[in-house]
Amino acid sequence: MVNLKINGREVEVPEGTTILEAAKKLNIKIPTLCHLDLHDIKFVNQSSSCRICVVEVEGKKNLQTACSTAVSEGMNIRTDSRRAVKARRTVLELLLSNHPKDCLVCAKNHDCELQKLSADLGIREVRYEGEMNDFPIDNSSLSIVRDPNKCILCKRCETMCNNVQTVHALSEIGRGFDTVIGTAFNLPMHESNCTFCGQCIAVCPTGALTEVNKISKVWKEINSDKVVVVQTAPAIRVALGEEFGMEPGTQVTGKMVSALKLLGFDKVYDTDFAADLTIMEEATELMHRLKHGGRLPILTSCCPGWVKFIEHNFQDMLDIPSTCKSPHEMFGTLAKTYLAEKMGHKPEDIIVVSVMPCVAKKYEAARPELGLGGTKAVDYVLTTRELAIMIKESGIDFANLQDEEFDNPLGESSGASVIFGATGGVIEAALRTAYEFMTGETLEDVEFHSLRGMDGIKEASVTINGEKINIAVCHGLGNARSILEKIQRGEANYHAIEIMACPGGCIGGGGQPYHHGDMSILKKRMQGIYNEDRGKAIRKSHENPMIKKIYEEYIGEPYGEKAHELLHTRYIPRKKM
């Protein structure tokens, strides 16, 4: 243990503790900007590049960065001296001197850490005037907008992209004032190996990385003659409330449906319905592979970021993910076939909007092989954040809305589909169905707790018909990479693996309300998901009456010919670069 003094108060902390952590123990707040420590997902950004957290240490000539300086015995620190406070103001003013001042119309307005810091430090003028960067904005991709002019070079995105996700799309390029965080050869994001998981957006402190905004396009469709249907992903119903001051994890499903109806969507459906459908197909596919000696393990394929990751990095393994389309694509396909027929509309007269916790879904919706002969299965994808803006823009008092029910036939869902939103949920849902399909028995305890929680890689074995089925769950692409390499080396003996690109699964998606580094928010959302599951009368996908009906009326057999045509897809090898 190390004893030291901060602002005249004594504190004892373990060796290796930083000044920042020691100060936190005394409830002394040192402002930070580049620093971000998300232990739970193995994300630690300690680049000490912004210099905002400087403090005075007795005996040291220069100010020290609190975020990266370890404490030592007898240290005497002042975080509140005039010198330290003035230095912080200078540092901030210098950062602001090369930062656009268009906060009022910036996508990060009210969610920007630089803006908040400027407010907290009471900056009223920027005394420094000089050259400003004028980099081109990269809006080539369908998911992420990169505006290097708003970048403060904190490297959080780089840490996320390289250390946590191991995607390696982003790197620090150039030198000095001309430094920019960008892609290899300054390629447009769309041509790079970016998976569009959007985790860079989730940690960016400023407006340098934001989602591609489709709000005005969706408004235009709502006000057109077309039939505009909307579907909502499992994970948004436990996060949307945060945008309206509610506790993270609050279940706002009913209010969300009401709000969507008020916004003017013609029909409000649930992606959860399609998640149940995914389970029917995926569980049957697993059984098919087990029975016919197909390639194992089977990997889930709901996550478009993860799919693009395997296409870039493991081209020799493209036959192991399930061929199932992701739930919202299954929904889009059925909306423009089954539903169109039922409603008596031409497919091109129906517009499908998905509200997703994800920015990769924006890119996925444009994948040509998921199209339906000239029209897209899903026309527009909005993030949870974009939906919140539409609700606010319309003046809807969200917190006081009455609950409403989803429309049918594509609105009914089981508890199994709800848990898709949290890491481990897809495989748990698949097990609930596969167990009963394979044994013909009823599964009494439907909760598989070993598959839940924030551990990066989770493993479990389930005995079905005397056969041991080995399951793995991983979230975060770095964990996915390590498990895929294990398979490549022939060291893994799994039958089925669930992979989600974002830490925590979809509840931690790149399109969710900003967590600002508070990981307890993800855990609360996760709890919300499991509470919603527990509250459902039907908790197994195959027991959803609407699912039974659609197979009888339209699709035929799960994993059958028509199912293949409508609900399955293929994967495309992409450049590793």
Binding site: A169, R175, A184
Partner: protein, 165 residues
């Protein structure tokens, strides 16, 4: 402007470079010496060679690009047959080195750091070449042009088989 890297023409060089990579492969901090080797053999860093380095050293291409753009010793543009180095050291600068550089740029239609489309000339600005009494100084390959006047620039370009404006 895009310069195409001819793999067929560079076959021997690529083999030579692969040996350089092998020399450093298992040492810590291999990237910089390998990049220097590539720059020496090919005169610049072709995309194809950076991709090869990425595979051989198992370093992501984005990281390699980041390192290569940090140091001014690395170039992504091939060097021309003749390299014009205009000294911008203090003495040469005071004596009008900048104007000389601009004249070369105007005459050849490229900026310092670039290469002409016909691959005949590259222009670079250099720091002091140690010939201050002769300022302003220009080097073309190993030939020294002391006390150079702006109106002589065209003549020099023609001498090396170039086309001036």
């Amino acid at each position: 402007m895009e310069f195409k890297f001819d793999k067929e023409k560079n076959k021997e060089n690529i083999e030579k470079f692969k040996k350089t990579v092998q020399t450093y492969k298992d040492t810590k901090g291999a990237l910089i010496p390998v990049l220097q080797g590539a720059q020496e053999i090919f005169g610049y860093l072709p995309v194809e060679i950076l991709q090869l380095i990425s595979v051989e050293l198992n370093i992501p291409i984005s990281e390699i690009y980041g390192v290569a753009t940090f140091y001014s010793q690395f170039s992504f543009i091939p060097k021309g047959e003749n390299i014009i180095s205009v000294c911008l050291g203090t003495a040469c600068y005071v004596k009008g080195g900048q104007e000389i550089l601009e004249e070369f740029e105007n005459q050849l239609g490229i900026k310092a750091g670039d290469t002409t489309e016909d691959m005949k000339f590259s222009i670079t600005s250099t720091r002091c070449v140690g010939d201050c009494s002769m300022a302003p100084v220009v080097l073309v390959n190993d030939d020294v042009y002391p006390r150079l006047k702006k109106d002589k620039v065209k003549e020099i370009i023609l001498k090396y088989g170039g086309v001036a404006k």
